[in-house]
């Protein structure tokens, strides 16, 4: 049985609570220093399989702007973020695009959709 105490900052919101996380055999058994339940949830995921939201852009033709900002609908595995960003560099869409429209469904088979962060009208 191995037990260790980790210090980490919650990144869920801008408060950035500094937490002391006790991990036993790879499982979080105690979290201190968090000021809301999201801190505990973050620590549990961060220790086992860290996840991050991805925001990037894709090319758009015929719109008021040449780029469309996009965001992952849910957090993606942290170690797949760069691969997903690379994948998005190949994507091009055509205006008009509505906010929330799926731009790249089930990216890299990870079960997460990449959606438009804003609307872009036709030029």
């Amino acid at each position: 049985m191995t037990m260790e105490k980790l210090t980490m900052n919650c990144i869920t919101c801008p408060v950035g609570c500094e937490m002391t996380v006790t991990v036993e055999d790879g499982v979080v058994i105690n979290v201190e220093g968090n000021s809301c339940p999201r801190g505990k949830k973050y620590a549990e995921v961060e220790v086992v399989a860290p996840k991050r939201m991805l925001t990037s852009t894709v090319a758009i033709t015929g719109g008021l702007l040449p780029l469309l900002p996009v965001v992952s609908q849910e957090p993606l595995p942290k170690n797949k973020i760069l691969a997903c960003a690379q994948e998005l560099r190949k994507v091009s869409v055509e205006a008009p695009i509505a906010a929330g429209q799926v731009i790249c469904g089930n990216i890299l088979g990870l079960g997460v959709n990449i959606i438009a962060a804003r609307a872009i009208d036709k030029e």
Partner: protein, 422 residues
């Protein structure tokens, strides 16, 4: 020249202007104009494509463009709120006459019964921090690079160094990494980071980008294009230490060295300004030193969260709306807010409290990082409120609410200070 008149004219269509317009409408104003110089509303949020916005204000995690869209939707389809884009305000007179110009309408004279200043802020540049060395291409402010990468579709370079650990710099470190660039280092002259902790974690640590605290650039190299920089350690007075120099190769330098409230129009109006916030001095209703002229958001003081910008702008919008309807309660007493030990700035600087009291929220910044301190608010020497702070950082604004009941008892001077060793 076209002449127009509105009850409330809002200068700037970013989050502050949009939130002020919405709040003014909700509080009964029915003749509102927003003037925006960009081609669309939303302000700088449109280039801040990352997420993390809106958790306080909309109780939801949004991207910058997502937050902007929310604000725009709140004012859309209301004929009483008129918006002008591609329109630049050139001058405002103390009689509240505005001269604005747009390619479509030409010059316009617009009179506002009240005016709300929501022009936001802009970035400090290389000139503002006087970095010695050559003057090659490849040096950008982080925000300019952000617009290029996120809205225009250019990459400013491949091998990047970022000077300054403010949030825009950190966000750009991640953004450039996602676009396949190599971020060599982030340099910070202070012995502590100036960005939010969450951004240190998710923008630097995640991408193994070194953050060098107490370091700065002492020379820039490159004749036509930037080829590298010389970095030095600095002492406690932020002076470079001889003998600590080393070089970093890079083709691009991004500067994230602070923001300055954009107050040319405010200065033209001779509004009383605060030397540390670089914005107009305001009371709790966000009235400036000129009656009928309000100010809110980053033009008053640089915020770290857009959520607080919206909150502040809603206050200005509300009181401008009440003023044009003749519903403002006159103040009985003026209280000056002074900053004491450990506190660098506090907004509002003035409280004009009516007989029945008025709930007030103070926004403060500390001068240096602190741990386990007590924030104390004193009225004429008596502590009326205190709050324990486990951590306080200059980069994270502290908000404290004072109830209407308590404001009734305040004297003519309020002091906010930190008490250590608690």
């Amino acid at each position: 020249m076209q002449e127009l008149e509105y009850d409330i004219v809002i200068i700037g269509g970013g989050p502050a202007g949009l939130s002020a317009a919405y709040s003014a409408y909700e509080n009964g104003a029915r003749s509102i104009l927003i003037i925006e110089r960009d081609f669309e509303l939303g302000g700088i949020l449109q280039q801040c494509i990352h997420n993390g916005f809106g958790l306080h204000h909309f109780k939801e995690e949004l991207t910058g463009p997502g937050y902007a869209q929310r604000c725009i939707e709140l004012i859309a389809n209301k004929p009483e709120i008129v918006t002008m884009v591609d329109t630049m305000v050139l001058d405002i007179s103390t009689e509240k006459k505005i001269i604005a110009v747009s390619p479509k309408e030409g010059l316009m004279k617009i009179t506002g019964k009240t005016i709300i200043l929501t022009m936001g802020c802009r970035e400090r540049t290389r000139g503002a921090i006087r970095i010695p060395g050559e003057r090659p291409a490849g040096i950008f402010t982080a925000g300019a690079a952000q617009r290029m990468v996120n809205m225009v579709g250019y990459l400013p370079g491949q091998k990047i160094v970022i000077l300054g650990s403010g949030d825009i710099g950190l966000i750009m470190a991640r953004r450039m990494s996602l676009e396949g660039c190599k971020v060599q280092a982030v340099l910070e002259i202070c012995p502590f980071s100036n960005g939010l902790t969450r951004n240190i974690v998710q923008c630097l640590q995640d991408y193994e980008i070194p953050l060098l605290l107490a370091h700065t650039i002492t020379e820039i190299h490159g004749k036509d294009r930037l080829t590298g920089i010389t970095v030095s350690k600095v002492d406690e007075n932020m002076r470079p230490i001889a003998g600590t120099e080393f070089d970093i190769e890079c083709d691009t330098l991004l500067l994230s060295v602070g923001l300055i409230p954009e107050n040319e129009l405010s200065r033209g109006l001779h509004l009383k300004m605060h030397p540390l916030t670089n914005g107009p001095i305001v009371n709790q209703r966000r009235t400036t030193s000129l009656p009928g002229i309000y100010a809110a958001g980053n033009v008053v003081h640089v915020h770290d969260l857009v959520d607080f910008v919206s909150d502040e702008a809603e206050i200005a919008g509300k009181f401008a709306a009440l003023e044009v309807q003749g519903k403002v309660c006159d103040a009985l007493r003026r209280t000056e807010v002074k900053t004491g030990e450990g506190i660098r700035t506090c907004v509002p600087q003035i409280l004009d409290i009516p007989a029945e009291g008025e709930a007030v929220r103070l926004f403060m910044r500390v001068g240096a990082p602190e741990r386990k301190v007590k924030l104390e608010i004193l009225s004429d020497g008596q502590v009326i409120l205190n709050k324990l702070l486990p951590v306080a950082k200059p980069s994270e604004m502290i908000a404290v609410d004072i109830s209407a009941e308590k404001t009734k008892l305040m004297g003519c001077e309020l002091t906010v200070r930190l008490s250590r060793g608690v």
